[in-house]
């Protein structure tokens, strides 16, 4: 098994590196080239980089296990994300895509800074990205290390492989190498998931669909299990429903398509990709549970071990390909986040404040990419409990950005007058998330309710209320005062 895995891993790394090196032909002369490919991505690259960035190793490991343990509610959770993302992209992306070109946006924090005319807001958003997304990126690298450890390889070796891939495939040609390797990895992820589904199906001791469904019914996971109370469903879905407007790595991808046709196709292909990938992964989770009931595999109490357990029942070649596809999912998400967070740091703290040449900025950009990647690797190596657990809360910490971003995309006039509201909304929303993480611990905070309302909803209500109050006050002040006796 280890020999086969090593050979397939080498092939995956070599092919990816050749693709990354080939992408250098697009040329990197400015930060616009380095971070967003100078708004020149074609249809295929736009769609595939969006899909591969969005879908992390969580799908093949986390979602399979979640479905195995908690049932069909996991499908609802993941599809709620897809439905909302497709809608938000459709409603806002054309406008944002046009404005990004016109106003030369590179980073999402720069976008908010420009729209609200507040450098302070841009800087705070960049800091929020760093706090929320570095633990999340570390979790991707930890996932690879743990996966390799479950195969009998060294955990540290997994971290070294993951860190090297994230670093090399980013530094070679910035967004171009990230997007082209994303496309390669996206294809690998779907192909491997289809193969995984097929091989799991062949493990079933029966071909009678009714027996399979009855088995799942008897376990009680075809409906809503007690796990999926309405509050839990809300707590899980709410941060992800707004993922498309709060996470910089995906917001930035709206800027990139070369033309409107590529943008349209990006949304279309991403929707189809997301739907198929989600359905396949959930069915694998359900089939794994059937296999447990038929005693083909043992009962797995720790849900993240469902996928590794299934993989270990397969022949070495398909098993290795599936493991590589999980590594690919983690790497494609991690390098996109690193590049995106770097773009915010560079554009908001360096390029906009100092007069420096393009060459200097690119050198510093690479240095920041290397530093951030090494920080995530160090966290993955040390595995400090609190920081690793914070990855669960990443989308909740970013949630205050939902109303701030959506209001700015709605074309509200004189956004400048809302800048203090936006700053306060961001600080208050993120503070609620971090405060609860400190009080309850990040994992418990995710599901804790206060007055029957999940923390994520409190974050959203607070930040939205502050912005709306600011809007109402400003609008009221602007209205002409009508005094008694006047007409």
């Amino acid at each position: 098994m280890l020999e086969v895995f090593s050979v397939i891993l080498i092939i995956y790394v070599v092919v990816g590196t050749v693709i990354a090196i080939t992408s250098r032909k697009y040329g990197i002369k400015s930060t616009s080239d380095y971070f967003i490919g100078s708004y020149r991505l074609g249809t295929f690259l736009s769609a595939m980089t969006y899909a591969a960035t969005t879908y992390s190793a969580f799908m093949m490991v986390g979602l399979v296990g979640l479905t195995y343990a908690t049932g069909v509610g996991a499908l609802g959770f993941e599809l709620a994300y897809l439905v909302a993302t497709v809608a938000l992209l459709t409603i806002f992306s054309r406008r944002v895509w046009g404005m990004a070109r016109e106003r030369r946006w590179v980073s999402p924090s720069e976008m908010l800074s420009d729209l609200y005319n507040s450098k302070l807001l841009g800087s705070l958003v960049a800091i929020t990205y760093f706090i929320a997304l570095i633990p999340y990126t570390s979790a991707q690298i930890i996932g690879i290390g743990t996966l390799l450890e479950s195969l009998g390889l060294n955990y540290v070796l997994g971290i070294i492989i993951a860190t090297s891939l994230v670093l090399i495939w980013t530094v070679i040609a910035g967004l171009w190498s990230v997007a082209t390797t994303d496309a390669y990895q996206g294809i690998l992820m779907t192909s491997a998931s289809i193969m995984f589904l097929w091989l799991t199906l062949t493990k079933l001791p029966t071909t009678d669909l009714n027996i399979v469904i009855n088995t799942l019914d008897n376990v009680g996971i075809t409906g809503l299990t007690p796990f999926w109370s309405f509050n839990t469903f809300l707590a899980y879905t709410l941060p992800w429903v707004f993922f498309a407007v709060t996470n910089p790595q995906v917001v930035q991808r709206i800027y990139m398509p070369a033309n409107e046709k590529a943008l349209k196709k990006m949304i279309t292909y991403f929707s189809i990709y997301g739907f198929l990938y989600t359905i396949i992964v959930v069915i694998i989770g359900l089939l794994a549970r059937v296999l447990t009931e038929f005693k083909v595999i043992p009962f797995i109490s720790y849900r993240d071990y469902v996928t590794p357990t299934l993989i270990l029942t397969l022949d070495p070649i398909p098993a290795s390909i599936i493991i590589i596809s999980i590594i690919a999912a983690a790497v494609s998400t991690a390098n996109s986040i690193i590049l995106s967070v770097t773009s915010s740091i560079i554009r908001d703290f360096y390029e906009s404040r100092l007069r420096v040449s393009s060459r200097e900025v690119l050198v510093v950009s690479n240095a920041v990419v290397i530093t951030l990647t090494l920080i995530t690797a160090l966290i993955a190596y040390l595995r400090p409990g609190f920081i690793v657990e914070m990855s669960v809360l990443s989308s909740v910490i970013l949630l205050p950005l939902a109303p701030i971003t959506i209001i700015s995309w709605l074309g509200v006039k004189d956004l400048k007058s809302l800048r203090y509201g936006a700053i306060t909304a961001l600080i208050c929303g993120a503070s609620i998330a971090i405060y609860n993480a400190l009080i309850y611990g990040p994992v418990r905070a995710f599901l804790t309710t206060v007055l029957g309302i999940p923390i994520s909803l409190w974050v959203l209500i607070t930040s939205t209320s502050i912005l709306v109050m600011n809007y109402v006050i400003v609008t009221h002040r602007r209205r002409p005062q009508i005094t008694l006796g006047s007409k």
């Binding site: 069909v72 499908l75 609802g76 599809l79 709620a80 897809l82 439905v83 909302a84 497709v86 809608a87 459709t90 409603i91 054309r94 469904i213 019914d217 075809t222 409906g223 809503l224 309405f230 469903f233 809300l234 409107e260 349209k264 949304i267 279309t268 929707s271 189809i272 739907f275 359905i279 959930v282």
Partner: protein, 56 residues
């Protein structure tokens, strides 16, 4: 603008259907009912979106 408004209203209806029906009408269903419901609802939404995008 009119089409966008209709699309946004449809999205809100979609979200209501996505969250409420499984927790009311389909609360105690068995078999493939819930998985089919969420899958078909999502598929219908993707098709609606693709048709809407063509009008851009």
């Amino acid at each position: 603008m009119k089409h966008t408004r209709i699309y946004v209203i449809m999205f809100l209806v979609m979200i209501v259907l996505f969250y409420t029906v499984p927790y009311t009408t389909l609360r105690d269903v068995k078999g493939l009912t819930l998985i089919t419901y969420w899958s078909l609802l999502t598929l219908a939404w993707i098709i609606t979106t693709i048709l809407y995008i063509r009008r851009w």
